[in-house]
């Protein structure tokens, strides 16, 4: 797999191997978060302050946040289907600057959701790529690492244009 940055700031990921392609295609799966989900409270945290602020948050802010999260999810989902939906040796992604925020949000949100939902420890996060994938937990750790690498590249692109 090759990752490079173009002059226009776009991040180009090419020659994506099959396991990475599958990890990226599983992104939308990690984003489906219902109210009862353990990840829900992490994605929509309490704002602190007083009771008035809590009510304001519940009535106005959280629905607004949910809408912006959905927009990012749809943007990335569409690109994923177009770019990686069909198995191909030429699988690649071009994340242009206008799409960068949506991608950073989705990658970060997927990581947070996996961590909360599957009760990962901080130590498990430190061991980046599991040597062998034999359990679902290994697979999730692999995905956490894949998403982290891409997120780091996008943050670098944002901070060092």
């Amino acid at each position: 797999m090759k990752i490079r940055r173009r002059r226009d700031g776009a991040v180009v990921v090419s020659e994506i191997p099959q396991p990475v392609r599958l990890a990226l295609l599983r992104l939308p799966l990690h984003l489906q978060i219902s109210e009862g989900d353990s990840a829900h409270a992490r994605l929509f945290p309490n704002p602190g302050g007083d009771a008035d602020l809590g009510e304001l948050w519940a009535e106005w802010v959280r629905p607004d946040l949910a809408k912006s999260f959905d927009t990012a999810e749809r943007t990335v989902g569409m690109q994923l289907r177009r770019a990686l939906g069909k198995e191909s040796a030429e699988a690649g992604l071009i994340i242009t600057p206008p799409l960068r925020d949506a991608w950073m949000h989705v990658l970060n949100r997927a990581r947070l959701a996996i961590f909360e939902r599957h009760d990962f420890s901080e130590e498990e996060l430190e061991v980046k790529f599991p040597g062998e994938i034999t359990t679902e937990r290994d697979l999730l750790r692999w995905e956490l690492a894949v998403y982290q690498v891409l997120l780091e590249v996008l943050v670098d692109a944002e901070c060092e244009p």
């Binding site: 945290p45 602190g48 602020l53 970060n108 947070l112 961590f115 997120l151």
Partner: protein, 100 residues
């Protein structure tokens, strides 16, 4: 003679007691809390973006969050503080509003 409206018959002292008390606008803190998932570079980027901080200042605040579990990243009027907390939540950071 017709009686005066009640607000005029009341003594000034009583009127003063019934008016809402004006409290000085105390500042509020915006606090960012540590979480094990958000990348350090990402937190720094968000602090730069939301507050317009220089890289060095944003990095110092991020390290404070990382080492001490939390950092007061901004202090000021409540309305602005609420807006900042909302923006931090939009970036998936754990942030709260607190009285100093």
């Amino acid at each position: 003679m017709a009686s005066l409206p009640p607000e005029i018959t009341e003594s000034p002292a009583k009127v003063a007691r019934t008016q809402p008390r004006l409290e000085p606008a105390l500042p509020w803190n915006v606090v960012v809390h540590n979480d094990p998932v958000n990348l350090m570079s990402y937190v720094t980027m968000v602090l730069r973006r939301v507050f317009g901080y220089a890289d060095g200042h944003a990095t110092r605040l991020m390290l404070e969050v990382h080492r001490h579990g939390r950092s007061v990243v901004w202090t000021g009027e409540r309305e602005q503080a609420e807006l900042y907390v909302q923006q931090l939540h939009a970036h998936l950071l754990l942030a709260t509003l607190e009285r100093p």
